[in-house]
Amino acid sequence: MALYHTEDQAMLADTARQFMGEEGTIAKQLRHWRDKQCKDGFGHALWKQFAELGFAGILVSESDGGLGMGNVEAGIVLEEIGRNLTPSPFLTSSVMAATAIGAGNDELRGRYLPGLLAGDSVFAVAIDEGPKHRPERIATRAERAGNGFKLTGKKAFVVHGGSADMLVVAARTAGADDDQDGITLFAVPKDAAGLNQDAVRLVDSSMATHVKLDGVQVDADAVIGEVDAGRELLNRVLNAGRVGAAAESVGVAGGAFDMTTTYLKQRKQFGQLIGEFQALQHRASHLYSELEIARASVIKAQQLLDAGSEKAELMVSVAKAKAGKAASLAVKEGVQMHGGIGMTDEYDIGLYMKRDRALAEFMGDMYYHAERVAQLSGY
């Protein structure tokens, strides 16, 4: 498989770029909702448009009414989301939750997918339990009770948790906190008794929640996949989320980079355009190289994941780490090369820096994923 987009994928990219560049812009979405202190942090009307274009169901199988596409296509949409800093529940709902629900039984899919496809529902994914991504360790417990389960524990940094109609929760039905086995995924409706969420606004003005599960009672049919054997499905959800976040990071980096090079061609100091100074040129060129390499690692990971290759796991971590490194460089250089104006709220470059920070933590930062690369390579 060649490492560039097919004609169909290029067409999708055109559509996504045009749509996000018109409807998903920083002025229309991010700033608008932020300045209104919106409790969702994103606009439902835009989410509805995502659905009308088919984006919401990009990873949902055709038999369930979706587009039945892969991670490459989801990544195309995410890159444009990143470039425009478009706030939306696409990554949590259409990528991660959809990957989970897609593996559920007929009833579960029938209950949740139509709402997603229509842009009426939003889902969130509750996996991590502390400030850092550590999905190897899951302490939240689910005990058999009544005709179903009772969930007890805490989840941290659940993005869009407060806006979600349903949370995909990873809990332990057997074993000790650090065991690989004994994990089960649950679809927990937002109004389940005992589910408490504390909303917090994050640095990028997105919303997340700290979730408390106080003996949350769910029916047996809330189980996604198999009881005790959910680790494999959880990994699939994580991989989709990781490579998706990497694609969004590449978009964030690209957006910051474009702003910066444009600025280098406009701003004059010492009687010349600052883009004429070699000290800045070399840094811009280095950044360009890092970005291209990050983009290559992301498409490679997406393709391997879609092909079900055994190398996918390693490449997904490479992509998340590399995209994270490149994006962090892009936003730091972006603010610095803008000089004082880059520190102002009025100017967008700082917004890229904030979004990058949130994305860096989401689904594991570069240190976490470099560590995984080491472990997967046997050292």
Binding site: A2, Q278, A284, A294, A296, A321, A374, Y379
Partner: protein
């Protein structure tokens, strides 16, 4: 079975039968590399057989046309060839500046006679080439070169000095940039080919920090070069030179690297790896290296279908060489004092240390990293005044 599957089966069978066992291990030193040429001494019978068998089938230059000594493979077939070679760890049958650099330039700019004559010799490993670009006063600013060819009707008489000419003392012929018009800076340079045994050519080796001496100063004293030995048009050698540099940069970047996903962390572990900070650096390096390997693959895929930016080889050269330097810094650190040995047998004659030192030239030869960044700024990013 599709045609490509059949092709793969054919290649696999041929390799099985024809690639000697000894040639299925990575080269450990420069000696293990088959450079060809009049002065080349084969290290073993296997090395000789391997080159000759490949040359007979056109496999030394698989994607060149059959008429010029190649096997006429298309991009998909050439990829299969590389994959099958990688699969059995086969060494390249022949390595040469002729294949990597001059060949592509001749394919694009050469006359039909030149193609048939020179490309065939390159493919069969008969002539070893060196590159006469740099001069003492003209390195990064190559276009300022002074070596001059005076027009004498049917030939030029060339005078001047080149420097850093890799393997000039082992080469048979040189492809050389010579000023043929002193009034025009860019459009006054011609691309000439000539025999290093021509009267008036002399070389003097330069010892490198690695203790090796692959390079020379090369002097031209009234060297006679016949007019038919020019590639491309008179005074338009810069176009040929730039095209060739693109290939040189691609080669130096190691873009074609295989995708075995061997990490240097895994390598260091085999030698014992107990330092957590070193391990962390190795892991960060491996992220960069695996990502670059994806970039190499993407770059080749895009080049094939004309999707890559024409200045992209500069980026590949920059990123690939900086990465390779970092790799060898880390390998030295992982090796500890054992990697310091300079001439013991156990160390393969100080292979680690010498290789480490040699890699420092990667970001200098074929254009420095700074020059690559200049080119990216100007041609890709379109920054002002670059």
């Amino acid at each position: 079975m599709s045609d490509l599957d059949a092709f793969r089966a054919e290649i696999r069978a041929w390799l099985e039968e024809n690639c000697p066992a000894e040639m299925r291990e990575p080269a450990r030193s420069d000696d293990d590399i088959c450079w060809g040429g009049r002065k080349f001494q084969f290290k073993s019978e296997a090395q000789k057989l391997w080159m000759e068998r490949c040359a007979a089938k056109g496999y030394t230059v698989p994607d060149w046309p059959k008429a010029y000594g190649g096997a006429g493979m298309g991009p998909a077939e050439a990829k299969i060839w590389r994959e099958e070679m990688n699969r059995i760890n086969a060494r390249p049958p022949l390595s040469s500046f002729g294949i990597w650099m001059l060949g592509p330039a001749l394919l694009k700019f050469g006359t039909e006679e030149q193609k048939i004559h020179y490309l065939g010799q390159i493919a069969r490993g008969e002539i070893r080439w060196c590159q006469g670009y740099s001069e003492p006063g003209s390195g990064s600013d190559l276009v300022s070169l002074q070596t001059y060819g005076e027009d004498k009707g049917d030939h030029w008489v060339v005078n001047g000095q080149k420097i850093w000419t890799s393997y000039a003392n082992k080469a048979d012929w040189i492809f050389c940039l010579v000023r043929t018009d002193k009034t025009n800076k860019y459009q006054g340079i011609s691309f000439l080919l000539f025999d290093m045994e021509s009267p008036g050519v002399s070389t003097k080796p330069i010892l490198l920090i690695s203790g090796n001496s692959p390079f020379c100063e090369t002097f031209f004293d009234n060297v006679k070069v016949p007019k038919h030995q020019i590639v491309g048009e008179l005074n338009r050698g810069w176009d040929v030179a730039k095209y060739l540099l693109g290939h040189e940069r691609e080669m130096i970047s190691g873009a074609g690297g295989n995708d075995r996903l061997n990490t240097i962390g895994a390598f260091a572990k085999r030698n014992g790896l107990e330092d957590p900070l070193l391990r962390a650096e190795l892991a960060m390096f491996d992220v960069d290296a695996l990502a670059f390997s994806a970039m190499g693959e993407k770059f080749l895929d895009e080049i094939k279908v004309g999707k890559a930016h024409p200045a992209q080889p500069n980026m590949m050269k920059y990123a690939g060489t900086e990465l390779n330097k970092r790799r060898h810094e880390l390998l030295m650190a992982a090796g500890g004092s054992a990697a310091l040995e300079w001439d013991s047998e156990a160390s393969g004659g100080g292979a680690k240390a010498r290789t480490w030192l040699r890699t420092k030239a990667n970001s200098i030869e074929g254009g420095t990293s700074e020059v690559m960044l200049n080119v990216i700024s100007k041609r890709i990013l379109d920054l002002p005044g670059a």
